[in-house]
Each structure stands twice: as structure tokens, then as C-alpha cells.
Amino acid sequence: MEIKKVISDGAALLCLIGRLDSMTAKTLDAELPGLVGVKNITLDLKDVEYVSSAGLRILLALQQQVDAEKGKLILINVCDEVMEVFEMTCFSEILTIE
């Protein structure tokens, strides 16, 4: 899992590349402390073809972290396979997907 990160003026854009599963979720997990205080976070999932339950857990944690800041987390470019997972688990209800 590779993460390209742009942070500026309380907004962050993270481009995730690869699978977001139990093996790679740590990489994103490690980014969370660095994003404390950032209100608007955009996750670009263009290059993510799979999200496992461990990945969902990190996304949930990030969502809750943003909620606590009263900020906003937006997921963009979600592919069909990943969308299927979000829908199956109803994460689509708590995540903002554009």
C-alpha cells in the first residue's frame, strides 16, 4: 500500500494505491495521528481495488476522528468492487462517497 499525501490549510488529500486489507491497513493507520486537526480529508481510492474488514475498520476510525473534529471525510473515485463492500456492510451510510 502506497499513500500519496498532500496537506494544506487544514485540508488533506490522500491517494491510496493498492489493496486495503489486514496486511496493509497499518500503513493507513499510521497516517491517522498525522491527520489529527485536519478538518477536510479527501481519500482518493482510484487505485484501490479491494477493501477488507480491517480496511473498513481504519476508515471507520478515520471517520470518527474527523467527526470528533467536526470535519468532513470524503471518499472519491470508489471503484465498483469496493463500492460493493461499502454497500454490503452499509458503510456507505456512514461514509461520504462522491
Partner: protein, 640 residues
């Protein structure tokens, strides 16, 4: 541990012997160098000794040669005066007398001499005219008138005739007589040199000078570079001196000195079986000086010195070798044996002993390093033992946990043997000792069977703990008479409290009324189960709700499905559809449903086993990354 041991104690297996051998070699090399240098020095010393002897003989020869020249010059002058007297025709008696009296000062070698004329050569009046003077023992010059008298008649004396017969025409060549012992005169060993006196190439007389040889002979006899050296002084075939003895004109018996002639030509002769050096000189008047020096005696000192040096070196070698061996024993053997014992202790697991070497050198540092190593090893091994014990304990506990977790899920099949309306089978395989997946089924009343399959996010102990809570809560809620939706609503709220670990649970829960075949189900974010109506598995279309433990007061919407006799329900967790092979490729829903359909007609146990087999074939040995759970059911109720 297999330690190779040398059964034979070979010489060089000890560091001490190696180093001692090195020291000995070094000493031997040093001795060799010294011996070589000593040989060179000896050679030079010997050459010097030989040269010294040679110069002794030469110096003596030179001195005697000087005397000879002095004699000859003196007498040559006398001969000249003799001629002048003859030519002048004046008062020759006075001149002659004065001349001989004055011609031999104290400094002269000759002790006396004179002018002797041929018969009537000076004056027709007198047949014999001669002037002779000599220095007596008191040192005064005495004019000797005996010579002119008839009693002596020098003209007929042997020395006179000898000289006369040997003097050459040019008159410049001296004639040396044989040595003689002057009995009645000086009583000394003497020789006489003579020159002819010529007037118009006619011999008119001879001039003579007498030389006492005793001192010369003594001086030659005293040429003794070493104690047993001998000098031989030969003149006109007579021995004048040999060894330290002076002879009075003894005839040379060559048999007594068989080495004499070779000594003149060569510088090494054997005298009476003793190897000697020979140094010889032939003087101006034919006198011969030979010095014989015993070789061993001449080189005695240097030979002694060399022998002493060799002895001292050998003794030093032995002493130094002994000292070195002793020191090596002290400085190398002892610390080495201490170190060896230390290592043996460590090898046999004794870490408490400390090596005590206070030599202040590398051995001490090595000993300290070994001590520190032993200390660290002790720590490591203690720690390792502790960790291993801990691991074993955790492993044992995990085994117990596994058993407990397994026993929490119904696992005795076939189930419901007394129920013709139902057949069920469940399979679970955890990725770790304990897992987050679980299934459950139980009758909440006579007709309603609760079915639960769930997956806690994550794996291992945290997931297992969360699973236990979730499972217990769900079962409690169900048994409290709540519908699936109500049950999950309550459970979600309970789980959401204090969910600091941010875990969540996906869960499919259903109540099957075995009498009516109505399946009331709720899906909390779980993989939709397969339902086979009429022999083909299809995904059960049911609206998904949010996973549990994420958001409070989430509504879980129930849906109902009517089952007919023979319908099959296949519940599973994402460990099946998301099982990965070594390339990271997922098995996927399509492959799963195909596998399920392929084996749809098999008994439930075989069906699940076949699906698992297909899954394993795809994974091809890749490590199982998530728990795999299947719960299959055939409805055999009355409802047609």
C-alpha cells in the same frame, strides 16, 4: 556438542612449545650470525698476527741490513783513503795511523778495521805495511802494531787471502768473510768485510772492518712472537743462532733442520710434527734469518676467544630458552588453561563462574570479554527461558481458549436427528488459535430456530474476546424473545458502548419457523447468504444494514423469505470469498457460488467439505489470512 579431541599430544599442539621453538630458532640464528662474524674477525686477527710476525722479522732484517750498509760504507771509505795514501807518497805512517784510529767512532758498527797493503805496494822499503785499530772492551781505540810484525804475517792469513781472492776489479764490491771466533783476540764471534784498494786497476791492498756478531745473533735469537717460536740465523753455511741459543760458528747440519730450505720458499712448514708459519729474510751480505712460529700458538688467543664465545653463546641459549619456557608457562599457559576452563564452564551451562586473570594484557581483556559474554549469555538464557515459559503458557492458554471457543459453538453433527424437518451442518476454521468468526443456532421456542453467523473485524484474541461478547449478547437477546431486528438493535447499542478498540461485527441473523418455513432475517453488513430454491444457489436479496458496534440506535430492518421443503441456505463469512492465493488474487463470489452449485446435491457435510477443497485448491498453500466459516441448512419442513 561434538568437540573434536586430539588423542595424540603432538609436540606442536602447545602454544608454549611453538613460541619456545621460535625463540630457540631466533637464538640459533643469532648464534649463527655471531659465529660468522667471529670467523671473519678471527681471520682478520690471524692475518694481523701473521703480519705482525712478518714485520718483526723484517724490522730485525732492516736493522741488520743497516749495520751491513754502515760496515760497507765505512770500509769503502777506508779503502779510498788507503788508495789516497798510496798515491800521495807522503808521510803515510802518520796518516794511516790517524785514519784507522778516526775511522771507527763509537757510533760505527765495526769495532775495528784496517788498511793492509800488498807486499812493497806502498814503499819498496817495507814488505808489509798495515794500519789496524780496534775498540777495546773499555771503549778506547787501540792501534794494533802486531799486524805489521813478522810473527803474524797478515799476507799469509786466510782472511786476507780470502778477501783478496774475492774482491773484484772495480773494487766497489765488498767481500764478507766466513764468521769466525776470534780466539786470543776479542774472543768473540766475528765477521769481516773487505774492499780492495786499487791503484790504476792494480790491487795494492785491502781495507777491512770487523764486526762482532754476538749481539746480532742474540737479537735474532730473541725474535719470538710466541713462546715456542724459534729463530734460525745462518751465515755462510754456519749456524750462528738457533732458538734462544747463540752458536759460535757451528757448521749447519741441514739434517737437523729439514724444514730450512722450504722455510725460505714457503711460509708454512712442519717442524717436529708441529704446524708452523715460516718468516724468512736474506740480508744484503747473504745472512739468512728464519723465524718459525707454531701456528696453534700464534692463534692460541683467538682460538680460545672463539671457543669461549661459542661456549657462552650455547650456555646463553640454554638459559634463555629455559627462562622463555618458564615465562611462557607463566604468561601464556596459565591464563590459557584458566580461559579454557572458563569456556568449558560456559559450554556446560555454568555462567556464574568468573575468569580471574590479572595479567594486564590481552589475556586479561579476553578473560573480561568472556566474563561479560557469560554474564550476557546468562541474562539471555534466563530471559529466553522466561520468554519460552511465557510463550508456552500463552500457547497453553490459547489452546484452552480455542477449545473454549469451539465449545461455544454447537459442533455435534448430525444435529436435530429427531427432527425430520431440518438438517444442518457447520464448519469453522480459524486463521489463528482463536478467531473472530462465529456461528450459532438454537431454538428459541418450539418452532423457531435462530441462525446466526457473524464476523468480528480483526483476528486473534481481541476479535475472539469481542466475539464472545457479541455472541452472548445476541443469544441473550434472542432468548429474551426479541425478533432478529430488535435483538441486533439492542446488541448494537450495547457493543457500541465503550468500543474503544473501534471494532465492529458483521452479522447475518435469521429466525426460521420450521413449521411454516418462514425465514425472518436481518443483515448487519454481512455477506449475503446463498439460497437455493429449486436446485440452484443464488444470492439472497436482502437489504444490508450497518455493521454492529459502529453507530448507536441503528435500525436493523427485518425481511422475510418463504422457504419450501428442500430449499438450502448457505451462510458463510468473507474468509471464503476473500481467501487469497499467493499472488494476492481473491477467490471471489463467482468462484464460490460456482463451487457451491457444483456440489449442491451432496449431503451438507460433503457440500461444505467440497467448497473448502475447491477453496484450498485455489489458495494452493497460501497462508489462510482470515477465519473461514460455513453454516448450511436444508429445510425439510412440511411446507411444500
Amino acid at each position: 556438542v561434538n568437540i573434536k579431541k586430539h588423542s595424540k599430544k603432538r609436540f606442536f599442539y602447545s602454544v608454549k612449545t611453538k613460541m619456545a621453538a621460535m625463540v630457540l630458532l631466533l637464538m640459533a640464528a643469532l648464534t649463527g650470525v655471531l659465529v660468522f662474524v667471529n670467523i671473519r674477525i678471527s681471520e682478520q686477527y690471524k692475518a694481523l698476527q701473521i703480519a705482525k710476525c712478518q714485520s718483526l722479522v723484517h724490522a730485525e732484517s732492516m736493522r741488520i741490513n743497516g749495520c751491513i750498509s754502515d760496515m760497507e760504507n765505512n770500509v769503502r771509505k777506508l779503502a779510498l783513503i788507503g788508495r789516497l795514501i798510496a798515491e800521495s807518497g807522503g808521510n803515510f805512517d802518520t796518516i794511516g795511523k790517524t785514519t784507522v784510529m778516526e775511522s771507527f767512532p763509537k757510533s760505527a758498527v765495526a769495532i775495528g778495521g784496517g788498511i793492509f797493503y800488498e807486499p812493497y805496494a806502498l814503499t819498496p822499503d817495507k814488505k808489509r805495511v798495515c794500519y789496524y785499530a780496534f775498540r777495546n772492551d773499555a771503549g778506547d781505540m787501540i792501534f794494533d802494531e802486531i799486524f805489521e810484525g813478522d810473527d803474524y804475517d797478515y799476507l799469509s792469513q786466510e782472511w786476507y787471502t780470502d778477501i783478496k781472492s774475492y774482491v773484484t776489479i772495480d773494487g766497489n764490491q765488498p767481500v764478507w768473510t766466513k764468521p769466525y771466533f776470534d780466539k786470543g783476540g776479542t774472543n768473540k764471534l766475528m765477521t769481516t768485510v773487505g774492499f780492495g784498494i786499487y791503484e790504476d786497476d792494480k790491487l795494492i791492498g785491502v781495507a777491512t772492518g770487523d764486526w762482532v756478531l754476538t749481539d746480532i745473533a742474540k737479537s735474532i735469537a730473541s725474535i719470538r712472537p710466541t713462546e715456542n717460536s724459534r729463530a734460525l740465523f745462518v751465515y755462510h753455511g754456519a749456524i750462528l743462532a738457533y732458538s734462544d741459543k747463540v752458536y759460535n760458528n757451528e757448521i749447519l747440519d741441514i739434517n737437523r733442520f729439514p724444514w730450512f730450505y722450504s722455510a725460505l720458499k714457503e711460509n708454512a712448514v712442519t717442524v717436529e710434527g708441529v704446524e708452523c708459519f715460516a718468516f724468512s729474510d736474506i740480508l744484503l751480505n747473504g745472512m739468512t734469518v728464519v723465524s718459525i712460529v707454531p701456528r696453534a700458538e700464534l692463534f692460541h688467543e683467538i682460538t680460545n676467544y672463539s671457543n669461549t664465545l661459542f661456549l657462552v653463546m650455547t650456555a646463553s641459549c640454554v638459559v634463555i630458552a629455559l627462562i622463555v619456557i618458564f615465562m611462557l608457562r607463566l604468561f601464556i599457559n596459565r591464563p590459557l588453561s584458566v580461559l579454557t576452563q572458563g569456556f568449558k564452564n560456559i559450554a556446560s551451562g555454568i555462567f556464574e563462574n568468573r575468569i580471574d586473570i590479572a595479567t594486564g594484557d590481552e589475556f586479561q581483556r579476553l578473560g573480561e570479554a568472556v566474563n561479560s559474554m557469560a554474564g550476557q549469555l546468562d541474562g539471555y538464557i534466563k530471559n529466553l527461558t522466561k520468554v519460552t515459559e511465557e510463550k508456552e503458557r500463552v500457547g497453553t492458554e490459547l489452546n484452552v481458549a480455542t477449545t473454549i471457543q469451539k465449545s461455544m459453538m454447537p459442533s455435534i453433527f448430525p444435529l436435530f436427528e429427531n427432527r425430520p424437518d431440518l438438517d444442518m451442518y457447520a464448519f469453522i476454521s480459524s486463521a489463528k488459535e482463536v478467531g473472530g468468526d462465529f456461528y450459532d443456532f438454537f431454538f428459541i421456542d418450539e418452532n423457531n430456530l435462530a441462525l446466526i453467523i457473524a464476523d468480528v473485524s480483526g483476528k486473534g484474541v481481541p476479535a475472539a474476546l469481542f466475539m464472545v461478547i457479541a455472541k452472548t449478547l445476541i443469544k441473550n437477546s434472542a432468548q429474551a424473545g426479541k425478533s432478529p431486528g430488535e435483538a441486533l438493535y439492542d446488541v448494537n447499542n450495547l457493543l457500541d458502548e465503550n468500543n474503544t478498540a473501534k471494532m465492529f461485527v458483521t452479522c447475518f441473523m435469521a429466525y426460521l419457523n420450521v413449521k411454516t418455513g418462514v425465514l425472518t432475517c436481518v443483515n448487519a453488513g454481512h455477506n449475503p447468504p446463498l439460497l437455493a430454491k429449486g436446485g440452484v444457489f443464488k444470492w439472497l436479496k436482502i437489504k444490508p444494514c450497518l455493521v454492529l458496534a459502529v453507530r448507536k440506535n441503528t435500525k436493523y430492518i427485518e425481511e422475510t423469505v418463504q422457504l419450501q421443503r428442500g430449499d438450502r441456505l448457505f451462510m458463510y463469512t468473507d474468509g471464503i470469498t476473500e481467501a487469497a492465493n499467493k499472488d494476492g488474487k481473491l477467490w471471489g463470489q463467482k468462484a464460490f457460488i460456482e463451487s457451491a452449485n457444483k456440489n449442491i446435491d451432496r449431503p451438507l457435510k460433503e457440500l461444505s467439505a467440497a467448497v473448502k477443497r475447491d477453496l484450498d485448491e485455489f489458495a494452493a498453500g497460501a497462508e489462510q489470512s482470515d477465519d473461514i466459516t460455513m453454516l448450511v441448512l436444508i429445510y425439510k419442513g412440511d411446507n411444500q
